[in-house]
Amino acid sequence: MPERPYTLTAELTYRCPLQCAYCSNPISYDNRPALRTEQWRRLFSEAEAMGVMQVNLTGGEPLLRNDLERLIECTHGLGLYTHLITSGVPLSRRRLTRLRDSGLDAIQLSLQSTDQARADEIAGLPVHDAKLAVARWTQELRLPLTLNVVLHRDTIEEIQDIIALAEALQAERLELANVQYLGWAFMNRRALLPTHAQLEEARRIAHAARERLSGRMEILFVTPDYYTDVPRACMDGWGRRHLVVSPDGLVLPCHLAHQLPGLTFERAGTRPLLDIWETSEGFTRFRGEEWMPDPCRSCEHRAVDFGGCRCQAFQLTGQLEAVDPVCRWSPDHHLVQRAREAAANSSAPAPVAAPLRKRELQMVP
């Protein structure tokens, strides 16, 4: 039997007022009704019973659910570490106070940039100042804050300013999240992928800051797979530590797995969550090592990267079981190298497709 999962990521809705070109939600999805309060509660309780310790409440924008307070009361009541991942829009100080009083343990707030005009352009809405206000309220209300800034071609050179802002806002954690090129971000890769030189400079600055702020602020610098040559242990391995549940209740090993063709995922509530975790086709398909192609199956790194990212392998090669092309041993590694070269050689801004129609309807690019 597989290990029990530690973390449940609950995607409470795909709706979001923002239109970031690197949105990590699926490009298209079935327009099924979202789970109701009671269904989420049952799911949280089942997850807790099977060993989950942490819940990430995210979306889309979880604040759009008016039952968020009740859901937090539920996860807190179950003793789960409850973490809200949000853009901070729309939010009042009063509601943030209510969320805290419902039992929220920590909040992760995204900022699109340190520059107001740029941030608002990326978000597609004038929200930067409102987000800064939310950050300040978290300090006043003593809610532990993780600041998350997504790094790409247009923002990566702001890294000094980002770190300074995180210090000024007394963030406990700063996540410098380089875009990973899946879904929307893959579609907009030409506009988003930084150059190698940009990335290396940012990494140097992030590492120096991590040293300087050690013990005060935790700094995470997530390298984009495209510049690593070694696959990332995506989700710490397929069906190994994490459960993700989509707004309409699909139980998934990662937030994009339902975009992969030919895999079957099951809905929460149709049978016990533990059974879905242990035996469903979608979870067992890439769990462990048996599915691995050559050279992964004999590679000593397979216990470190668990075969990398399936969504990325499929996105780049059209094959579910391909070696993750970011790996230097992949026969498709040239696809990644070519993207890097294109980033180094392009100077003109690339067109951007933003998820403008991120409503509840099905989206087709």
């Binding site: 029990r4 099977m50 310790m53 003793g79 003593r142 532990p144 406990e172 954690r173 935790e218």
Partner: protein, 91 residues
């Protein structure tokens, strides 16, 4: 850190007993540490009420079969490590 320091787990952390794995877990956003038995016992006392030396005294009384020096080393090592990682403050 000295004997009079009062180790306090940071507000972003929570200590939770994991009945499946039969161990304490220290949780913070998107991270967690599964603790061994002695780390779990030590961290339950890191609430800002007790000094390092009083934690050592209490645990020595609680575990008379374990050498005091070993308990002291464990306490210092764990508290030092978690304070370097920003999970605990020393007041």
């Amino acid at each position: 850190m000295n004997d009079a320091s009062r180790p306090t787990l940071r507000s972003k952390t929570r200590l939770r007993y994991d009945r499946h794995r039969e161990a304490f877990c220290l949780l913070w956003p998107e991270r967690g540490l599964l603790l061994n038995a002695s780390a779990g016992v030590i961290l339950q006392r890191c609430r800002g009420q007790e000094t390092v030396s009083s934690i050592v005294n209490t645990l020595s009384a609680q575990y008379p079969d374990t050498e005091r020096q070993r308990i002291e080393d464990d306490v210092h090592r764990l508290i030092g490590e978690l304070s370097r990682r920003g999970l605990l403050t020393l007041e």
